[in-house]
């Protein structure tokens, strides 16, 4: 029996009072959902849909870039693809997917009955649907979708058509959804932990999400401010960023990246949390340096507020500004390094097995670290002068966002899907998905480092002939990477959602610890309705 699809009453647990409440059934179960597990499922399905939409746009980009010359799309449409690919992946896929994980796992991991604000939880999700529709419909508006890049730099945004306004509105709504989700997560974590679950006993996934939620509340309003000023510049003749009226286009970049850099960590910290749970589980050994992991995550979050202008070395900052942002950025590699070392020390002298979640976690550590090193190289201002706005940057942030966030999410999916669905996914298909993705990911993005070093700018619809070979290679790799995700949908996601596969035991993973493994698989609709009594480590229920 799956917790994902069948009607909750079918679970047959003797929760008589549930019946008294009168569960909504059919489509009402989802539209009026207040259950954290149902809302988590909605978030994950929404995010995966947007991931496929954004991925399709990525393949259209790679199609045009397969060969030099404009074969398929005019440059304006090409710019719309790159812009929408970025917006959809960041705001439609990665962020909602992590909120889905948070909804499913945080209450179960801290021994709470549900999220603190169940109805606000419903609203946070359902706001995403009109926002996503408004974003994607931009393609069908006069002038097409926004084509100013996902960073929406002024004053290019002033030249966009009406889809710019609908996209700004969509981002406002998504921002409101994120802020509500974050408030919910913070209140849930701080107030609804089972007795004995002290802050320093919380699972790492909960810790990383607590910090992420604070980051979101701090910076989403900053983005809202930047795009609102863009909106008033467009329509109400203000001149915040419009140089024609004395505005400063670079000010937009400062405000945007004050949001944008913490945003990078918003997209990676929950993945750190997932990996910090998967690695100990499959090493059959406790996480090494739990305390330092918490401190490292907090340090990364705090430092993320003072490094934003490393995205702007070429805007022409004064020398002291460049030096400050260079030093501060390099500093971030220290706590990030601590996290990687702790994961390796956890694996060291463990008793490891390599089921799909562990493969994805190890793949994450390996490939994410490469993205970390290229980040260190980009942090150095003189080198970045060469690399800024080239394909090297594209390679770098796909190494941290695809190999980082996405691989982390896949790890979490394989780790927790047995608990969600009550069936084991096919280990063969999970491993195939991993190896296909790992190889094709690198075939796609590794050559982009070379393109960037050799001087190919990003966001160009056509390029000099010398860049042709690596572009062709990246396009072939990109197509295969995309197909690997379709494979995941067909052979892993759909089967487990239909409940096909071996029934999952309550503890499918030998070394996994935590309260989510104290409830049956699939997790009943309601868990921990009364606060459980926990053992000393807060990982087991004793009564």
């Amino acid at each position: 029996m799956s917790a994902v699809l069948p009607h909750p009453i079918d679970h047959g647990h003797d929760h008589d009072h549930d019946h008294a409440h009168g569960h909504p059934v059919g489509w009402r179960r989802w539209v009026f959902a207040t259950n954290h597990k149902d809302i988590g499922t909605l978030y994950l399905l929404f995010a995966f849909t947007m991931f496929l939409v954004g991925g399709t746009l990525a393949l259209l980009i790679r199609l045009e870039l397969f060969q030099p010359g404009l074969q398929f799309f005019n440059p304006e449409l090409f710019n719309q693809f790159t812009t929408m690919h970025g917006l959809i992946m960041v705001f439609g896929a990665i962020m909602p997917a992590f909120v889905g994980f948070a909804n499913w796992m945080i209450p179960m991991q801290i021994g709470a009955a549900d999220m603190a604000f169940a109805r606000m939880n419903n609203l946070s999700f359902w706001l995403l649907i009109p926002a996503a529709i408004m974003l994607v419909l931009g393609f069908f508006m006069p002038g097409g979708a926004p084509a100013a890049g996902w960073t929406l730099y002024a004053p290019l945004t002033l030249q966009m058509g009406m889809s710019m306004d609908s996209s700004i509105f969509a981002l406002h709504i998504m921002g409101a959804s994120s802020i509500m989700g974050s408030i919910n997560i913070i209140v849930t974590i701080l107030n609804m932990r089972a007795p004995g679950m002290t802050l320093m006993k919380m699972p790492m996934f909960v810790w990383t999400w607590l910090i992420t939620a604070y980051l979101l509340i701090a910076v989403m309003p900053v983005l809202a401010g930047a795009i609102t000023m863009t909106l008033t510049d467009r329509h109400f003749h203000t001149s915040f960023f419009n140089p024609g009226g004395g505005g400063d286009p670079v000010m937009y970049q400062h405000v945007f990246w004050f949001f944008g850099h913490p945003e990078v960590y918003i997209m990676i910290l929950p993945a750190f949390g997932i990996v910090s749970q998967v690695v100990p589980a499959f090493s059959r050994k406790r996480l090494f340096g739990y305390t330092s992991m918490v401190y490292a995550t907090s340090s990364i979050a705090i430092l993320s507020f003072i490094v934003w202008a490393h995205h702007m070395y070429t805007t022409g900052m004064p020398v002291t500004g460049q030096l400050f942002f260079m030093y501060a950025t390099m500093l971030i590699s220290v706590p990030t390094g601590v996290k990687v070392f702790n994961w390796l020390a956890t694996m060291w002298r463990g008793s490891m097995t390599f089921e799909a979640p562990m493969l994805w976690a190890v793949g994450f550590i390996f490939v994410f670290t490469m993205g970390g090193f290229t980040g260190l190289i980009c942090s150095m201002a003189p080198i970045d002068i060469q690399l800024q706005d080239t394909y090297y940057v594209v390679a770098h942030f796909h190494y941290v966002l695809v190999a980082g966030s996405l691989f982390g999410m896949f790890s979490g999916f394989y780790y927790w899907a047995p608990k969600w669905t009550g069936v084991m996914y096919s280990e063969f298909h999970g491993k195939m998905h991993f190896w296909l993705s790992l190889v094709t990911f690198n075939v796609t993005f590794f050559p982009m480092h070379f393109l960037g070093l050799a001087g190919m700018p990003r966001r160009v619809a056509d390029y000099p002939m010398q860049f042709a070979d690596f572009n062709a290679l990246a396009s072939v790799g990109g197509l295969c990477f995309g197909l690997s995700q379709v494979y995941f949908l067909l052979f892993v996601v759909i089967p487990v959602m239909r409940g096909k596969g071996e029934p999952a035991p309550q503890r499918p993973w030998e070394g996994a610890e935590g309260l989510e493994w104290e409830v049956p698989s699939p997790a009943p609709w309601h868990t921990f309705e009364t606060p459980p009594q926990l053992d000393r480590t807060a990982t087991k229920v004793i009564g």
Binding site: F66, Q67, P68, G69, N74, P75, N79, G143, Y153, P155, L156, Q159, P243, D248, P249, V250, S283, K285, R286, G289, Y290, S292, T314, T315, G316, P318, V319, L323, M330, L331, T346, W348, G350, S351, M352, T353, F354, F366, T369, L376, I377, M380, A381, P382, I385, Q388, D389, L453, A454, G455, P457, R459, D462, P464, M465, A468, D469, F470, N471, A472
Partner: protein
């Protein structure tokens, strides 16, 4: 540092050879068999920075090699541990899990050591940052203005002061791109008027822009400086080798972003002086008297050149426009007996719809010529002639 550089170049060559071997088939697939390296521009299967011709670019190269070496060493050591552990400490080989899970000494060690490493990295880079930003004492100052989608160069101070011209992608290149028949080593890098500078002189580039943000970039010089409308920024280079060097606009600036290259010709001192003389003479000869009365034929011929260089990007060479860009062919405004509506549109633009204002960017004679050309081309047969004086009159309005 020298040895590092040699070692780096050796490694690059080896990597190049390997990738060249492995991707021969791919090169055929991409259909660019006949392309070779462009000196001063990109190289086929280039896996590293373009060869530097300024001290700053050389320092950037050296820093990059150092970073690569340091990162590779750390990577090999750290992941050596990981893969050793993956092989040895697995359940399937019967390894039993140990029970340690914290060590303050180890935590402090792997916080302090990376901290020291990044401080050293920062210290090494500081010298180059400071040098990069020191634009004082320039021999020649040139203003580079980004337009959608071309570069304007004005020689502000030094030998050649007073020169100024627009540098645009060669129109044939844009057609090759549109027809998807790219060819040539300088595909998308060929410009009509390259920037010309003398060798061995410190050149300060002041950047600004007219519409949106662009970025003036030449990899071989190690220069990339955003050109920001309403603001001026600066950068500098001192090229120590003559030749042509190429770059591309490096900040998304709208639909033709991929089609505004930068080419800088570095000439010897004598050649540069000769070039300046020639330019000054040409400038004097080309100076138009806006009072001159033109015949239809020569004005139309001149108009065709002006149209193709400035208008055809959006309105297309056949005058049919594209997408939101209005067609000029059979346009009521163009065919109107009263030319003033069209003259005013060209002078002031229709900025919200994307048509820029051309007043001040093109001379009155050029504007008159372009309008005359549109009035007598394709299916437009008005026979009308717009004189520079008509444009001057409308400018006063």
């Amino acid at each position: 540092m020298m040895t590092i550089r040699k070692l780096g170049y050796g490694a690059t060559r080896a990597a190049l050879a390997i990738s060249a071997l492995s991707s021969t088939g791919l090169a055929l697939a991409a259909g660019n068999k006949n392309v070779t390296d462009l000196p001063g521009g990109p190289r086929v299967l280039g896996v590293n920075f373009q060869p530097p011709v300024t001290e700053i670019a050389r320092q950037q190269n050296e820093l990059h090699y150092w970073m690569l070496i340091v990162c590779t060493v750390i990577f090999v050591v750290v992941f050596g541990f990981m893969f050793y552990s993956i092989v040895k400490h697995r359940k399937s080989v019967g390894h039993k899990a140990a029970n340690f899970h914290e060590s303050t000494a180890v935590e402090i060690a792997w916080t302090v050591v990376p901290f020291i490493i990044v401080i050293l990295m920062g210290a090494f880079a500081t010298r180059t940052v400071v040098a990069m930003k020191d634009t004082t004492g320039a021999d020649l100052t040139i203003k580079a203005t980004g337009y959608q989608w071309k570069w304007g160069y004005d020689y502000i101070k030094g030998e050649g002061e007073g020169l100024g011209f627009i540098s645009t992608l060669d129109t044939a290149q844009r057609d090759l791109s549109e027809k998807a028949t790219p060819e040539g080593n300088d595909y998308l890098l060929k410009v009509d008027n390259p920037l010309v500078v003398p060798v061995g002189k410190k050149v300060r580039i002041i950047t600004t822009a007219d519409d949106v943000i662009h970025s003036w970039s030449v990899p071989a010089f190690g220069v990339k400086q955003d050109a920001i409308p309403g603001f001026v920024r600066d950068a500098w280079f001192l090229a120590d080798k003559t030749g042509s060097y190429y770059g591309m606009c490096s900040e998304l600036c709208g639909k033709e972003h991929a089609f505004m290259p930068i080419r800088v010709d570095v000439l010897s001192a004598a050649d540069y002086t000769a070039w300046v003389d020639k330019q000054k003479k040409a400038l004097a000869a080309a100076a138009d008297d806006p009072k001159k009365v033109w015949e239809l034929g020569p004005l139309q011929a001149r108009g065709e050149k002006v149209y193709l260089a400035n208008c055809a990007v959006c309105h297309r060479p056949d005058g049919k426009g594209a997408g939101p860009v209005k067609p000029l062919d059979a346009s009521p405004v163009v065919n109107d007996k009263d030319p003033n509506a069209q003259i005013l549109t060209v002078l002031h633009g229709r900025v919200p719809q994307g048509m820029p204002a051309w007043q001040g960017k093109l001379s009155e004679t050029d504007i008159a010529a372009a309008i005359t050309y549109t009035k007598n081309s394709w299916s437009n047969h008005t026979g009308q002639l717009v004189q520079p004086a008509d444009v001057v009159a409308d400018e006063a309005k």
